[in-house]
Symmetry: C2
Subunit: 456 residues, 2 copies
């Protein structure tokens, strides 16, 4: 490590990148090592993301596995996949050996199934191997899949002095000591201690006398989103994971929760924007098409639906052609209102603050949509009346608009609540799904009400 | 605290709520206190959120200020505001006295300006008062506004034994000890120590000999989003904050960053859904209208624009009325493609992984949109051809669709990149803004190209 304290603001300049490339091409191993030793592994990962595959692998093989294992966890997923393809089972096993069990499992799970077993067999540390095998058995999306086996635990029968001795040994393996968990001799979780408690206690005291029995925990099959909610709510930095008999199995730390929250937020945002897969702007055109085309297809079908409706009303409105020119307005309003109301419900459900019955929600949304609708319809009425001079048409269009907005708001509120009740992620109901269905329904309703009012 | 370890899964049942209400109404103070003592303050806050104001204030005045100050920080914002209105300056000062400086400042900032001064004057602890006054001077949205003054620091000249003694005293005031910061006698940050380092070192060693000089930090005027990015990237649980001379001013902990990330994600999601203010589903109809109406107005204006365009093309397409029935389809596609491409760029910008020039981005988006457009146009062509039997019309509509999709994709890509370059939050470019402008432009382009192809 450098002697100077480092400024946190790492910036990947073209100059630095050029320098690294030059050193790689010139195979100046000593200079390259010296240069990269200055940087945090997350920064080195950023550099490698910008190199070509050959260069990246060169750097990874050059640095020692303690650093490269951390770099691997931070690499862009696509690049990591390629790098792993170019490492032998033995090499991957060596990287994995350096990592905490949760990160090790993340790496192994990205390998093709047939390779996973082979890599695991190459891990030399038997305990690490068994722990990784155990973690691989937990279902994705549960606390078990998120936790690490590394933790510091003490038995209630120990003394403070004995404890400090043991902790020194255990702490070597644990990157950060959050809480010390207190267990019975059957490994049952009964409480916790902080290092602070320990250093302020007397050496001869028994753990059983000083531990804090009030300890938060989650069970191993708890949903990961639920774990995130709990840790955020209680401001926890780590939480122990237990089985149904309260046997201590592992712990989850806040940095994994931060990553999870970011991923969840991105997924919801993408769903709202009509993107079905996890993609980023640097993915290939084919991948991006796969993520975007399904929703566009839905839009195409919706558009064809709107076409069929309009054609159906063609005869009736022979004398009111102007009505057809307002369909984009009606469709846009129906879509926007639907997305707004569904977004508020989806967010409320995510934060557990949608209370009361579905009916009271729908009633509130109806009032809200009616208020918005009346204000907007007033301006639309003025516009049509002033420019067209036809009060009847203006009235018909405006009344339809209010009705369309109310119905759109109700659908936007109802669909996510309904999906949630059926155990389906309500976030899929936002974006193109609501927009498209509201478009068609809005247009249908619009012509139908206008026809009624104009008495055709 | 209860003797049993508590299960984390607190659920606010109607039964529990009824029980609390009954005890409040009956003024059964002892039973009420006993009941609530079982719960975490975040859970009590959840209970108070469901009581009426009078009941909530009754509970707050009943419990001791050590608990109620924490409850206050967790209460729903609207309810906290009302509760604070009903507490005297002295009472608020007592609550604030119990809180860490960052939480104390959050509470004080919610008070009307004229009250802030009065409450601060009532704080008895002079040091706490001065620290709060200092924190209030930092601009919102900076590291300074996010940090707390509570931290554990040691001077490089101390010994390990002396250090442990001093830390015991300092640690009393600090809820959680993350890192111990090492400073010179001029208070300049030069490194860090973990408690783990300290308990594994020998008593007579000097701090100067054992501290880790490699310490991440941020300056006090750094943007809070930047701090969040850094802490997430380096998996930090706390980060020290310094001034331009590296004088240690405070520290930011990960729980504040978790809250910040959640807020940011909600804000972006709401912007994408066309909601301008921070609202939740329990807000009043008036508040919700204020948040939703502006974007709907934009939609109204867009719709009127579309109307004017369609009316303008009315004469030209007298013999191709069918074209008008496809405007909702064209508008929907333009809107959807625009939102998709802008969402990917906005997200990429937030994650700092939009690299390369604007031109190369636009070129890629053009290829992508062209590919999507061709696939969709193929199906649309088939539909129009089969149902209408007019090859010319089918061709004109399909070609227009491809053009509209390409332009929509380019706009969706360009606008957020442009806003970002100008230092404006690109997230405002998603949702209704892109949808509306793409709607109008798409419809205009559609008629214009169709006219060209059909040779009218």
């Amino acid at each position: 490590m450098s002697e100077e304290t480092e400024n946190i603001q790492f910036e990947l300049t073209d100059e630095l990148l050029g320098q690294v490339k030059l050193l790689v091409e010139g195979q100046k191993n000593k200079d390259l090592k010296e240069l990269l030793d200055e940087f945090h592994y997350a920064d080195i990962a950023e550099i490698l993301d910008e190199l070509n595959l050959e260069q990246a692998i060169y750097v990874i093989k050059l640095l020692d596995s303690e650093t490269t294992s951390d770099i691997l966890t931070e690499l862009d997923e696509d690049i990591r996949e390629k790098v792993l393809k170019n490492l032998s089972d033995k090499e991957i096993a060596e990287e994995v050996e350096e990592l905490d069990t949760d990160d090790a499992v993340d790496i192994i799970q990205e390998l093709p199934e047939e390779r996973q077993q082979e890599v695991i067999e190459q891990i030399e540390d038997e305990e690490h191997k068994e722990e990784i095998k155990e973690l691989l058995t937990y279902e994705d999306g549960t606390a078990g899949a998120l936790m690490a086996k590394e933790l510091v635990k003490v038995y209630e029968t120990w003394t403070v002095a004995g404890c400090l001795r043991k902790i020194r040994a255990q702490a070597e393996e644990v990157t950060r000591v959050h809480s010390i968990y207190v267990v019975t001799k059957e490994e049952k979780l009964i409480g916790r201690l902080s290092l602070k408690n320990l250093i302020t206690a007397k050496n001869e005291q028994k753990i059983a006398d000083i531990y804090i029995s009030n300890v938060d925990y989650v069970t191993v099959d708890e949903e990961d989103e639920e774990v995130a909610k709990v840790m955020a709510k209680y401001d926890l930095e780590a939480i122990p994971v237990v089985d149904e008999n309260k046997k201590l199995l592992g712990r989850i730390t806040i940095d994994d929760i931060v990553d999870l929250l970011k991923e969840e937020a991105e997924k919801d945002y993408q769903l709202a924007a009509g993107i079905t897969q996890d993609v980023d702007s640097d993915d290939s055109i084919l991948e991006l098409t796969r993520a975007r085309l399904p929703w566009l297809f839905l839009g195409l079908i919706g558009g064809i639906g709107a076409f069929i409706i309009m054609e159906g009303f063609q005869e009736s409105f022979n004398h009111y052609k102007v009505l057809f020119f307002f369909t984009p307005l009606i469709a846009a309003m129906a879509g926007n209102v639907g997305v707004q109301s569904s977004a508020i419900i989806v967010q409320g459900l995510a934060n557990d603050d949608v209370k009361g019955s579905i009916n009271s929600r729908l009633f509130k949304e109806m009032l809200l949509a009616a208020l918005n609708g009346l204000i907007l319809a007033f301006f639309l009425f003025l516009f049509v009346w002033v420019t067209k001079g036809e009060v009847n048409t203006a009235f018909a269009i405006s009344v339809s608009l209010v009705a369309v907005i109310i119905v759109a708001g109700l659908i936007g509120t109802f669909v996510p609540l309904f999906l949630d009740k059926r155990g389906i992620d309500p976030a899929i109901a936002t974006g193109p799904f609501i927009t498209t269905s509201n478009d068609i329904l809005g247009i249908l309703l619009y012509f139908w009400i206008a026809k009624l009012i104009l008495g055709i």
